[in-house]
Amino acid sequence: MVWTGLTALLSHWRRRPVQLAMLLLGLSLATALWSAIQAINGEARASYDRAAAILGQDRIAQLVREDGARIDQQVFVRLRRAGWLVSPVIEGEMRFGDVRLRVLGIDPLTLPPQAQQVDVAAGDELLPFITAPGVLYAAPETAARLTEQATPPVRVAEGLPPGTVLTDIGQAQVLLGAKDKISRLLLWPDQPIGRPPLKVTVPGLTVREPSETGDLARLTDSFHLNLTAFGFLAFAVGLFIVHSAIGLAFEQRRQVFRTLRALGLPTRVLVLLLIAELLIFALLAGLVGVALGYVVASALLPDVAATLRGLYGADVPGTLSIRPAVWAAGLAIAVIGTLVAAAQSLWRLWHLPLLAPAQPRAWARASERALRAQGVTAMVLLLAAAGIAQFGSGLEAGFALLAVLLLGAALALPLVLTGILHLGDRLARGPLAEWFWADTRQQLPGLSLALMALLLALAANVGVSTMVSSFRLTFIGWLDQRLASELYVTARTEAEATAIHDWLVQRSDAVLPIWSIEGRVAGQPAAIYGVADHATYRDNWPILSAVPEVWDRIAKGEGALINEQLARRQGLGLGDQITLPGGWRASIVGVYADYGNPIGQVIIGIDTLVRHYPDVSRLRYAIRIAPGKAEALARGLRAEFGLPAQNVIDQAGIKVFSLEVFERTFNVTAALNVLTLGVAGLAMFASLMTLSGMRLPQLAPVWAMGLTRRHLAWLELSRGLLLAALTMLAAVPVGIALAFVLLAVVNVEAFGWRLPMYLFPGDWARLAALALLAAGLAAVVPAWRLARLSPSDLLKVFAHER
């Protein structure tokens, strides 16, 4: 009985392959986008974990300087001679050619076993490891990036975070130009007895407890939350397709259900059979979706990786590893999504009276009451959005705001469209026009899910593109201000730097030092820069707020400028005091915009910098010169000192690089946007296909009364376009609201800067065209089928026995 029932149910799909394809496609796409994002996030998180776990930082405590500055190597020896089991680590960023890497120097002899990442002394490897030129251990991907560069010998080691090379501490000190310096000390978990207290032995150091999540995971959290939100949106949009395909299939098989039940199949068994059927589809589509998701994720990951590297300095591999958990979750979400999408249909089936009259239209017809209830829900959600906007704070509140705003807008859409269609009806002249408007309104319940999906996709598109474009405009303006100097030069040694400086003084308008140290300010990693007193800064620096005569005060060594993200994250403002590495304090005299930089930044006078940090590396200079002479000077500079090309960069070069980072940051968003829009288009297609099957009883009389099939088809096509156009209109204000939330709430929390909003109606027009194209494509197939329908198919509507 069960088998017979199942075959009877499944036979439906043999006769309607397109419908089956639509169901599977919708589910696969939804699963694919979801899994892709999960896979990307999973990959990134795994690599943060690897980074956090490097040298056992997630398990063993460390000794650091409170201000993050480097420690004298003798401190290590002092601790060891006092009986403390510690191991020195030096860490820093450096460039090999155009590859920027984190260099990690260790002492393999004292490294705690918990921190051992690579067996650097296997076989006879120890001697080459500890003696010049040393050996760099790197993950396979990192090693591959280094093949073209002049580096010490590179060996491949699995398990290292990407973008990191592990080498001997002595070699690392040479590479990083930090002779006799270390960054921190790993504290062995088991210590011998009879040690003097740490405070006595090394008063300047503090213990940093092991931390499961590194700075990176915290810093990038918002980025991944962003992606997840997008993934969820895409999934929800995909489920609209599934919902409508399942709803249609159930409706079409009512007769079969009734017959099966009349033949003695219990409702319970019938429902179980249908669930079994759905599970088969869900697993099938889930597998396809997961595979597809892998493809999407692989395609997107390089950009995500580039973004994370450019924006957060986080290194994530550009290739995807297969994570069974992610894919299992993808399958699970496909199954759950299917069941959720089918819940309504199953519920109705459970309550289906045995002898209910066949009413194919019942499915498509939602009562006025349901519409009102939906409207009330939408209002509540939009009010909640207003409330969150008013009183909420933090990234979570920002995303909650986005969620209720989008959901509320989506739920309100049918109501709004009904209103507009009523209006159209009222203004219509002529029977066909009236019928067109009235019938479009009648269609709305059946299409509303798809239209809501479209609204979400369009609003997301408008919002995100407004945000990105506003950001780009601000960013470009900011780059122009920030990169005022014509050339930037980096010397290889301090002696060379001095020589370059002297050489340049004769040949340029100004030579401005760009010297900085890294440390911690207010507990956060930060860079401290010194600037010369020069018009370059006075005229151009992108100051957001400052006390009067701010540059005079900086030049006199009175106070510091901080970047916006530091100010926002720490709630710092003008006149507040900050403690800088080394323990001295400065008062904040200004805040400036610093887009694209994940960490805090402080600017003080160059003399103040040198006074407080005499060891500061003095290798970089900005050069002011008439733009026309810049290229010749750059050539001369390279020739005179034999500098590698990347050591002398012109303004345009840096701008190109910065913009590239910027563009990549939003490549992923753009790609997801397009994919989401595609899924929404598909949802619309599925819904229109679904409805077209049920439309015949409504169209046949009109045909019989004297309209050609072509004419009807054109009307059907126009209906799809009209609804899409109206939805697009509705999406614009929602999108602007979305952009506002992204710019004013989410970005501030995620990146630490707030941006002005600019509107780009041209983009909307483009998007509207795209939406109409999608809707047109979705509507054209059912319309074409209608135009080509044989009269006998239409006549079936009039047949007596139905």
Binding site: R441, Q442, A704, H711
Partner: protein, 218 residues
């Protein structure tokens, strides 16, 4: 002669080859007269009606409607014919669910380019629909729905009314009342009526009747 059918043949494709539905049908109907077309289920009477309405085309033969052979006309011409010349009343009423009663009533007349508010008002009164003009079809009883369908057809003043079991979905008492209304209104407009029915009782109320058996006129 308003309607003349000459040697009409119609086949339907089926799994076991073409099914010969109509065999050489010859039939004619004068303006202002009514003709009942009877026969069992599957005898081909609905098919014949559809051919006359220009909804479908025969495989052989000619259909002259108002002097024009409509066989071979293109879609647009057939649509114009349906719009202006014939009116259809279906067993299932086939009202337009998105339009209210008033709009349904006026619909075909306006499509045909012959809106006549006075005549509409008369029709609504005569059909007892004056009080339900703002309602939607699904809010009407079946008898009311069929009266709307009849009103819609007659509002356009077609020269030929084609009715396919117009009372088939109604109980006998309602059906008789609706039929009476239809017959008297058709007579008033001077249109001819071709009505498909399987009921001898109803057939007898028309001017003439022909019987269709297995695709042939008996």
């Amino acid at each position: 002669m308003l309607l003349r059918l000459h040697r009409i043949d119609k086949f339907y494709p089926t799994g076991e080859g073409p099914l010969h539905v109509l065999h050489g049908i010859d039939l004619s109907l004068e303006a202002g007269k009514s003709l009942a077309l009877t026969g069992e289920s599957g005898s081909g009477k609905s098919t014949l009606l559809h051919l006359v309405a220009g909804l479908d085309s025969p495989d052989a033969g000619e259909i002259h409607l108002g002097g024009t052979n409509i066989v071979g006309l293109n879609d647009t011409a057939l649509a114009a014919l349906r719009r202006r010349t014939v009116g259809l009343v279906f067993q299932q009423f086939n009202l337009i669910p998105s339009l209210n009663v008033a709009a349904n009533l006026a619909f075909q007349a306006r499509l045909a380019g012959r809106p006549d508010p006075v005549w509409l008002k008369v029709l609504a009164e005569r059909l007892g629909l004056a009080k339900v003009l703002t309602r939607y079809p699904e809010q009407l009883s079946t008898g009311q729905q069929q009266r709307v369908a009849i009103g819609r057809t007659l509002a356009a003043r077609p020269r030929l009314v084609l009715a396919d079991e117009p009372t088939g979905n109604l109980d006998e008492a309602t059906g008789d009342a609706v039929l009476d209304l239809m017959l008297s209104l058709v007579a008033e407009t001077g249109a001819a009526l071709l009505m498909v029915t399987h009921s001898n009782r109803l057939a007898n109320r028309l001017n003439a009747r022909v019987h269709l058996h297995a695709g042939r006129l008996a």
